[in-house]
Amino acid sequence: MIATLAFYAFAAVLIGSAVMVVSSRNPVHSVLFLILAFFNAAALMLIAGAEFLAMILVIVYVGAVAVLFLFVVMMLDIDFVRLREGFQRYAPIGGAVGAVLFVELIFVLGAWRFASDAADLRINPTPGGSVSNTQAIGRILYTDYILLFQLAGLVLLVAMIGAIVLTLRARPGTKRQNIDAQVNRTGSVGLVQVPMGAGLREMGILRPPEPDAPKPIAAPADHGGHH
C-alpha cells in the first residue's frame, strides 16, 4: 500500500515537473525542473527494485549531464521580451501541429492492448531473488550483450574524439606553461646561505646572484633586529 502511494506521488511530481520543463519561462528554472524530473524517475526505479539503475541515473544525469546543462544555460544572455515577441504569430501553427500529434496519440492509445505474455516478459530487476540488481545487470550486459555494449562504448569514444578535434585549435601567440621545462630548469635558481639576523636588502640577494659575483658580506654580529 505504501509502495503504491509512493509510486503515485513520485509519478505525479515527475509529470508535473516535466510539464514545467517545457512551460516555465526562465530556462534555468526549466533545467532545475528537469533535475527534479530525473530525481523522481530515479525514485520510481527504486520502487521497481532497480536500485543500481536509480543510482546511476542520479550520478550520470543529475550529477554530471544536468550540471553541464545548467552551466551553459546560466551563461546564455536571454531577453525575455524578445522571446515572447513572436508568440501570437506562431501560436496557430504550433497549436495545429500539437493538435495533430494529440489526435495521433489518441489513435495509438485507443488501439493499445497488452500482449498476452507481457506479464511473463516483464523486466525482473532481481531474477530468481538470489542475486542483487547490480549483479543481474552485469550478467546480462557483460555476457549476452557484450558486443553491443562495447560497440556503444566505441560510438561514444568516436563522438568524444570528434568533439575534441573540432574544438582543439592552437592559436598563435598564446603563452603556455611548460611544467616539465619549469621543473627541470637548473642554474638560474639557487639556494643562498643567509647569515641569520642580517637584513636581506643590503646583501643584494633579491636578484639571482651572478656566477662570479663576490660573496655576500656577513653582517656584523651586533647588527640584528629591524631596520
Binding site: I2, V28, L32, I35, E51, F52, M55, I56, V58, I59, V62, G63, A64, V67, L68, L70, F71, M74, M75, S132, N133, T134, Q177, I179
Partner: protein, 336 residues
C-alpha cells in the same frame, strides 16, 4: 517491543530515533570542527586561536552560532528569491542525508543498502547544485564566477573519484559499505592501493572546495565567491554544510581505505577499544590532514587545477584501475 518495531509506525519511530542519534552528535562535531580547525591553524601559525569564550575557548562555536542567528537575513533585490533561499538548504540537507548509509560499526548503519557506495557518490555529486544555484540566484558577478568555477571543478574531480571507487569495488566485489569495510579485516586498502588513496584524498579536497582548491570562494579574487551575498542563517547553513561535507568525505576515506571500525592490529590493547571509537579516531586523522593541507599549501591557479584533474589524475587512476583488474585476475584474487 518487537511487535511494535514490525509495524510501519514502529519502523518510522525507530528510524527517526536512529537518525537523531546520528545527526545530533554530527552537528556537535561540525560545531567543534570549526573550533578544532581554528585551533590547529593557530598552532601551525604560532598563534593562540580562540581562547576567550569558556575554558580554552570551548564555548566559541556556540558564541559564533548565536551571533549568526542574531544577524539580519539580507536578500538582494535582484535575486531569485525562492532559489536564493533554497541553495543553502540544499547544501546542508545533502550533507546530512548522506549519513544515512555510513556504517559506524558492524551493522550500525541506519540504512544498510546494497548500493551504499553509489548512493554516497550520487549525493556527493549533487553537492555542486547548492553552489551553482547560490551563485546564479544571487544575481552578482562574483557569486556567478564562483558558481561557474565550482561546476567545472566538481565535475572534473568526480571522474577520478569514480575510478578510485571502482578500483576499491574490484577488490571487494560488493557495493555495500559494510561489505567494503569487512573486506579490509586483514589488510586496509590504503596499503595495496596507496596511489589511489592519495588521489582520492586530493580529489576529496577538491570536491569539498577546501584549500588548496577553494577557488569557488577565492576570497582574494572573488571576495567570497558563491556565497558573497549570503548573511545570517543562510550563510551559516553553507558554513555548516561545508564542514559536514568534510566529515562525510573523511568518513568515506575511512570506509574505503582505512578499514572503517577495525583496529590497526587485532591484538589485545587495540581490541579493547570499541569499533565506533576507531571509526571516529580515523575520521579525526583525516580531518586533521584537511586542516594541515589548508595551513600548508597556497591556492591553485585555475588552469593548474584543471590540468591536475584531467591530465594527471584521470589517466593515472584509469591506468591503476586496469592494472588492479589485471593483478586480481592473474593472481586469482577476484572476489566471487
Amino acid at each position: 517491543m518487537s511487535d511494535f518495531i514490525a509495524t510501519p509506525f514502529g519502523t518510522l519511530v525507530i528510524t527517526v530515533a536512529q537518525a537523531l542519534a546520528l545527526l545530533v552528535p554530527l552537528l556537535l562535531a561540525v560545531a567543534y570542527l570549526t573550533y578544532g580547525e581554528r585551533k590547529v591553524l593557530a598552532a601551525m601559525q604560532m598563534r593562540k586561536g580562540p581562547n576567550v569564550v569558556g575554558p580554552f575557548g570551548l564555548g566559541q562555536p556556540f558564541a559564533d552560532a548565536i551571533k549568526m542567528l542574531m544577524k539580519e537575513t539580507i536578500i538582494p533585490s535582484g535575486a531569485s528569491r525562492a532559489l536564493f533561499m533554497m541553495a543553502p538548504m540544499i547544501t546542508f540537507g545533502l550533507a546530512m542525508i548522506a549519513w544515512a548509509v555510513i556504517p559506524v560499526n558492524d551493522g550500525w548503519a541506519i540504512a544498510d543498502i546494497n548500493v551504499g557506495i553509489l548512493y554516497l557518490f550520487a549525493i556527493s555529486s549533487l553537492g555542486v547544485y547548492g553552489v551553482i544555484i547560490a551563485g546564479w540566484a544571487s544575481n552578482s558577478k562574483y557569486a556567478f564566477l564562483g558558481a561557474l568555477r565550482s561546476a567545472a571543478q566538481m565535475v572534473s574531480y568526480e571522474v577520478s573519484i569514480g575510478f578510485v571507487i571502482v578500483t576499491v569495488l574490484l577488490c571487494v566485489g560488493s557495493l555495500n559499505l559494510t561489505a567494503i569495510v569487512r573486506a579490509q579485516e586483514q589488510v586496509w586498502f590504503f596499503i595495496p592501493l596507496f596511489p589511489m588513496f592519495i588521489i582520492f584524498f586530493i580529489s576529496a579536497l577538491a570536491e569539498t572546495n577546501r584549500a588548496p582548491f577553494d577557488l569557488p570562494e577565492g576570497e582574494s579574487e572573488l571576495v567570497a565567491g558563491f556565497f558573497v551575498e549570503y548573511s545570517s542563517l543562510s550563510f551559516g547553513l553553507f558554513f555548516l554544510g561545508e564542514y559536514a561535507n568534510m566529515i562525510l568525505m573523511s568518513a568515506l576515506t575511512t570506509i574505503l581505505f582505512l578499514g572503517g571500525w577495525y583496529p590497526p592490529l587485532a591484538i589485545v590493547p587495540f581490541t579493547w577499544v570499541p569499533g565506533p571509537v576507531w571509526f571516529i579516531l580515523k575520521i579525526c586523522l583525516c580531518l586533521f590532514t584537511f586542516v594541515w593541507v589548508r595551513a600548508t599549501f597556497p591556492r591553485y591557479r585555475y588552469d593548474q587545477l584543471m590540468r591536475l584533474g584531467w591530465k594527471i589524475f584521470l589517466p593515472f587512476s584509469l591506468f591503476w584501475l586496469v592494472l588492479t583488474a589485471f593483478v586480481l585476475k592473474l593472481a586469482g584474487w577476484l572476489p566471487a
